[in-house]
Amino acid sequence: MNLMTNILLNVIIAFLIGSLLFGLQRKIMARIQGRPGPPIIQHLLHTLKFFIKESAFPYTAAMPFYIAITAMLSMIWVAAVIVGPVTGGSLLLIFGIYAVHKIVEHNAGSSSGSPYGKLSCVRAVYSAAAEVPLFAVLVIIYFKTGTMNITSLINYQAVHGPLLYAIPLAALMFFILILSKAPYSPFAITKGKDIVSGYETEHFGLLRGYLMMSESIAWYMLLWVFLTVFLGPISIPVYLIGMVVMSSIIAFINATTPLLNPNHSIMMQVTFAFVGIVGSFALLMI
């Protein structure tokens, strides 16, 4: 198959499945709260609806930075799709992409001049502490397997069995990281409803739809990386089941926990990271 066709197909699949998973999350959260909830395709419909709405650009916004930052978010998650399903490249790139996602959250918030965006901007800097568990996961994976390349990791797990059993604490830390990216999660301080919509507040219409598209691709990619790095060579139905199961677990956690205060959110994530790092190195040494 043509490389470009491969990339395009993977991007479209990532977008569609990511949106459906977000919709599934909302449905499960609603049912736990005792209400019927929106249909599962609601997130997809919202994304498309926002995309064609009339947009206004704030008078006080930093142009063209305000528009360019949304294009950068899409660019990095397309790069993640290329690194992941298409070529099976380096995990360090996924880490880099995650770091740049934080940057986009930071600057989409501050580029409009709105006070809510500014609050989200500063919270995004705090939430960069969530990178510590990701860094630890990468180091532990490298020390366990000797490689950072996704294709090599799949081959390693074909021989030695899933990494989920070998380094379970690293898997837990990665799970906490995915949890912090979910909407309505206790760690989602940059998008909390106490600051309206955080960094997305002043990106209306077209740009909001664009941000939502990139976030759907991001969600799919995070789950894909987790399943590939910790479960190894699995077939497509198992990928889908795994993603649905993980989104459901995350929906349960999101429905039953409140949004934490920014400082507490970071404290919890760093505590999990500390336990994970110390525990994993202890397990590696034994």
């Binding site: 006080t60 063209p64 690194v83 490249g89 380096s90 360090l92 880099g96 740049v100 501050s110």
Partner: protein, 226 residues
């Protein structure tokens, strides 16, 4: 090119005499991202922050004045170029120099604003950045002493890690953590971001995060798995 670094192939090398820049998939992406953001910053205007006034129903607009804008934009572009250089350098000492330059320019970008609490935060960050230059260069020097080379491509081929290299790596990590203002020093840095001038704040944050990611690659090159 047959060299592999952390599992990925080297795509190319730019030899500028002693200083060698190398490209892998990862470095190239970081380099391109840093340059893309620098280009966006070079052509952008700044935003006007809107805040409520006490005692009245009006809004107060906080903007970036023209002269302040020009100097901050210049420093932001330098910071972006230094970050891009730090992404691809194959030289440990070169990397530490770029990090030091990034730290200085980060303070400069915020040093031109007129808000007292932002300047206070920048001052505290500046103190830590200056103190951190000791472990930063000390760590690089220790690694040079322990391995006999500052070239990352040469260190990549070494077979095992000595305790002195581990000590050098720890010092290097502390140095970069202080210079770029990551945890636990990031609290003051977050206060620096409350000022207007969004494109310039981007490069402060971007430089810190990209340098940290690159540092992890360098530390993993120096410390082999056991």
């Amino acid at each position: 090119m047959d060299i592999t670094i952390l599992g990925s192939q080297i795509i190319g090398i730019i030899p500028l005499g002693d200083i060698v820049f190398y490209f892998t998939q990862f470095n190239l992406f970081m380099f391109a991202t840093a340059l893309a953001f620098t280009a966006i910053i070079a052509i952008s205007k700044t935003e006007t922050q809107v805040e409520a006034e006490f005692g009245k129903l009006g809004d107060r607009a906080v903007t970036v004045a023209k002269k302040e804008f020009k100097i901050r934009r210049f420093l932001a572009i330098i910071c972006g170029l230094a970050t891009a250089g730090a992404m691809i350098t194959g030289d440990l000492f070169d990397f530490t120099l770029f990090v030091c330059l990034t730290g200085i320019v980060n303070i400069g970008i915020v040093g031109a604003v007129r808000q007292v609490d932002v300047l206070d935060a920048a001052y505290q960050y500046g103190l830590i950045a200056m103190m951190a230059s000791l472990p930063l260069f000390g760590g690089a020097a220790l690694i040079l002493a322990a391995t006999g080379t500052i070239s990352l491509l040469a260190i990549n081929t070494l077979a095992y890690t000595t305790p002195m290299m581990i000590l050098g790596s720890i010092l290097l990590f502390i140095g970069v953590a202080g210079e770029t203002g990551v945890a636990p020093f990031f609290a003051t840095k977050a206060e620096m971001f409350r000022t207007p001038g969004s494109p310039f704040l981007l490069i402060i944050h971007l430089s810190s995060l990209l340098i940290l990611v690159r540092l992890i690659e360098i530390l993993l090159i120096i410390n082999k798995p056991f």
